[in-house]
C-alpha cells in the first residue's frame, strides 16, 4: 500500500509538471531568458507549489509519516562550498537543456518502445 500511495504522489507531481508547462524545456529556458523573450511561467509554478506546501508545512511536518513512517536524516543547513559548487553546476546544466530531474523522468515516457 505504501508503494501505491507513493506512486500516486509521483503521478500527481508529474501531472502538475505537465499542466504547468514545466515538462517543456522551451518554457523553462524561456523563464531563464531574462534578457530575451521572458516567460514568467516557472515563477507561477513555484508560487503555486510554495503557496500550498508552505502554508500546510507546519501542520504536515508535525504529522509527518502518519501513514508509513520512515527514518530520515535531517538535511544539512550549512551554506558551504559544496552548496555553492553544486548549485552552480546544476544551474549550468539546467540552463543548457532546460531539464531538471523531474521533467527528465517524465520525459522518459516519450521514449518510443
Amino acid at each position: 500500500m505504501r508503494y501505491v500511495v507513493a506512486a500516486g504522489w509521483g503521478a500527481l507531481f508529474g501531472l502538475g509538471l505537465a499542466i504547468s508547462g514545466m515538462a517543456q524545456p522551451s518554457r523553462v529556458l524561456g523563464f531563464l531568458d531574462f534578457a530575451g523573450a521572458w516567460d514568467p511561467s516557472l515563477m507561477f509554478v513555484m508560487a503555486g507549489a510554495l503557496l500550498v506546501f508552505g502554508s500546510l508545512r507546519p501542520w504536515v511536518v508535525r504529522r509527518r509519516g502518519a501513514l508509513f513512517s520512515s527514518l530520515t536524516t535531517p538535511p544539512s543547513s550549512s551554506i558551504d562550498k559544496r552548496l555553492i559548487v553544486g548549485a552552480t553546476l546544476f544551474g549550468v546544466g539546467w540552463g543548457i537543456a532546460g531539464y531538471c530531474p523531474g521533467p527528465a523522468v517524465v520525459a522518459l515516457s516519450l521514449i518510443h518502445i
Partner: protein, 143 residues
Amino acid sequence: MTSFVYSEALLGGVLIGVATTGLVYSHGRFAGISGILAGALSPSGRYGQWGWRAAFLLGLVLSGVVVRLVRPEWLAEGPVTHPLTLVVAGVLAGLGARIGGGCTSGHGICGIGRLSLRSVVATALFIAVGALAVAAGRFASGG
C-alpha cells in the same frame, strides 16, 4: 513560442505542492526529485528505502505516459537539443544536484517551503547561473 497562460502554470504548481505535502504526510519524506532518484539508484546506499522511491518515480513516468495520450501538447516532443548536449547538461545538472543537495524541487519547493536559508541561496544561485547559461548560449549563437 506559445503564449503564456498564468492559470495553467499556477494550477500545475498547486498540484506539485499537493503532491509534495502528501508525501510528507504519508511517508514523512520530501519530494526532492534529485534525492529520490539518487536513492532509487543506490538501493543499498546510505539513502536506503528503495521501494517508495521507485514507486514515486514510476508514478512520475506513468503520469507522463497518460499525459502523452490525452494531452501530448503538454509535453515536449523530444529533446530540443543535440543528444550529446543533453547528456552533458544532464551530467552537470545531476552532479550539481548531488553535490549541492537538491534541485528545483528539493531546494526550490521543499527547501524554501521549510524556510531554509540554504535552499533560498541555492535556488537564487542556480536560477542566476541558469540565466547566464541561457544568455551565453544566445550570445554564442548570435541571437
